[in-house]
C-alpha cells in the first residue's frame, strides 16, 4: 500500500472514529437537557443556550478529526 491510499484510509478512519465519542456525548447531553426542560420548563431558554454551547464544544472534537483528515487529503506531508 503506498502512502496515498494509506492516507485516504487514514482520513476516513480519522473522521469516522472522531465522530464516535462526540456522538455519544452529544446524545447524553441532549437527553439530559430535554429531561431538564421537562422538569423545569421555565428554564428552557437558559438550558437551550448552554446546550448549544456544549454541543459546539463536543462538535469541535469531531472537527479536530476532520482537520486531521483534511491534512491527510490536501496537505499531506508524506506525499510530494
Amino acid at each position: 500500500m503506498d502512502v496515498s491510499s494509506a492516507s485516504v484510509i487514514a482520513a476516513a478512519l480519522a473522521i469516522g472514529l472522531a465522530s464516535l465519542g462526540p456522538g455519544i456525548g452529544q446524545g447524553n447531553a441532549s437527553a439530559s437537557a430535554v429531561e431538564g426542560i421537562a422538569r423545569q420548563p421555565e428554564a428552557e431558554g437558559k438550558i437551550r443556550g448552554t446546550l448549544l454551547l456544549t454541543l459546539a464544544f463536543m462538535e469541535s472534537l469531531t472537527i479536530y478529526g476532520l482537520v486531521i483528515a483534511l491534512v491527510l487529503l490536501f496537505a499531506n506531508p508524506f506525499v510530494k
Binding site: V8, A56, S60, I63, V79
Partner: protein, 252 residues
C-alpha cells in the same frame, strides 16, 4: 497533494480548492491575497455599519442604531456573563470585536457569492477558513489573557501554575498551548468543514438539495463565533481570578 476532487469530470460543475492561494509578494514575504481581500471587505462592512449607527445618535434608537445597540447589548451581556460585573468593562471592545468580526467573516463566506469574482489563483471565501486568520485571532486571545493576568497580579500571576499542587505544573503549562490550538482549530475546522460539505453537496446535486446544509452552516457559523468569544471571555476571566480565590467567582 491529493487533488482528486477537482478531477476533470467535476471541474465544470464545482471545483473544491483547498490549499491554493492567491499569493501576494511583499518584499521577501508571501501573503494570502484572497484572505486579505475578504478581510478588508468584512472590516469595511463593520466600519460602515458602525458609522451609520453612530452618525446620528438619538435617545430613542431607530434603524441601524437599534440593530447595533442590540449587537452591543448582546456582546456586553456575553462579556459580563464570562468576566463578571466588576472587571468586564475594559474587555467589551476586544471580545465584542472578536465576536462581530468572526460572525461577519463566517456569514460572509456563506452568504456572499464570492465565486463570481475570479482570482488568478485560489478563490475568495470566508477569511476564517484560512488557518492564518484563526491562529492570529487565538494568539491574540492568548496575549490578552496573559496581559489581563499580569496587569491584575503582576508576577504573582505565575502562582496559578503551582496553586493547587506543583504536580500539575506541566499540565498547567500545556494548557497555555492547547488553548490557542483548540480555539484556532475549532474555528478553522468548522468553517472549512461547512464550506467543504456545501461544496461536496453542490458537486453531487447542484440545485436545492444543499440549501438545508447551507442553513445549518449559517447556524454553525454563528454558534462558532459565539463559542470563540465566550471562550476568550472565559480564559480572560480565569486569568483574572486565578485558581487561588475561587470563592470570588460565586458572586462574580
Amino acid at each position: 497533494m491529493l487533488n482528486f476532487l477537482d478531477s476533470p469530470n467535476f471541474v465544470s460543475l464545482a471545483a473544491l480548492e483547498v490549499g491554493q492561494h492567491f499569493y501576494w509578494h511583499i518584499g521577501s514575504l508571501k501573503v494570502h491575497g484572497q484572505v486579505f481581500l475578504a478581510t478588508w471587505f468584512v472590516m469595511a462592512v463593520l466600519i460602515i455599519v458602525s458609522l451609520l449607527a453612530t452618525r446620528n445618535i438619538q435617545r430613542i434608537p431607530t434603524g441601524m442604531q437599534n440593530l447595533m445597540e442590540y449587537a452591543l447589548d448582546f456582546v456586553r451581556e456575553l462579556t459580563r456573563n464570562q468576566i463578571g460585573e466588576k472587571e468586564y468593562r475594559p474587555w467589551v471592545p476586544f471580545i465584542g470585536t472578536l465576536f462581530l468580526f468572526i460572525f461577519v467573516c463566517n456569514w460572509s463566506g456563506a452568504l456572499i457569492p464570492w465565486k463570481l469574482i475570479h482570482l488568478p489563483e485560489g478563490e475568495l471565501a470566508a477569511p476564517t477558513n484560512d488557518i492564518n486568520t484563526t491562529v492570529a485571532l487565538s494568539l491574540l486571545v492568548s496575549i490578552a489573557y496573559f496581559y489581563a493576568g499580569f496587569k491584575k497580579k503582576g508576577l504573582g500571576y505565575f502562582a496559578k501554575y503551582v496553586q493547587p499542587t506543583p504536580v500539575l505544573l506541566p499540565i498547567a503549562v500545556l494548557e497555555d498551548f492547547t488553548k490557542p490550538l483548540s480555539l484556532s482549530f475549532r474555528l478553522f475546522g468548522n468553517i472549512l468543514a461547512d464550506e467543504l460539505v456545501v461544496g461536496v453537496l453542490v458537486l453531487l446535486v447542484p440545485l436545492f438539495v444543499p440549501l438545508p446544509v447551507m442553513l445549518l452552516g449559517l447556524f454553525t457559523s454563528a454558534i462558532q463565533a459565539l463559542v470563540f468569544a465566550t471562550l476568550a471571555g472565559a480564559y480572560i476571566h480565569e486569568a483574572l481570578e486565578g485558581h487561588g480565590d475561587e470563592h470570588d467567582e460565586e458572586h462574580a
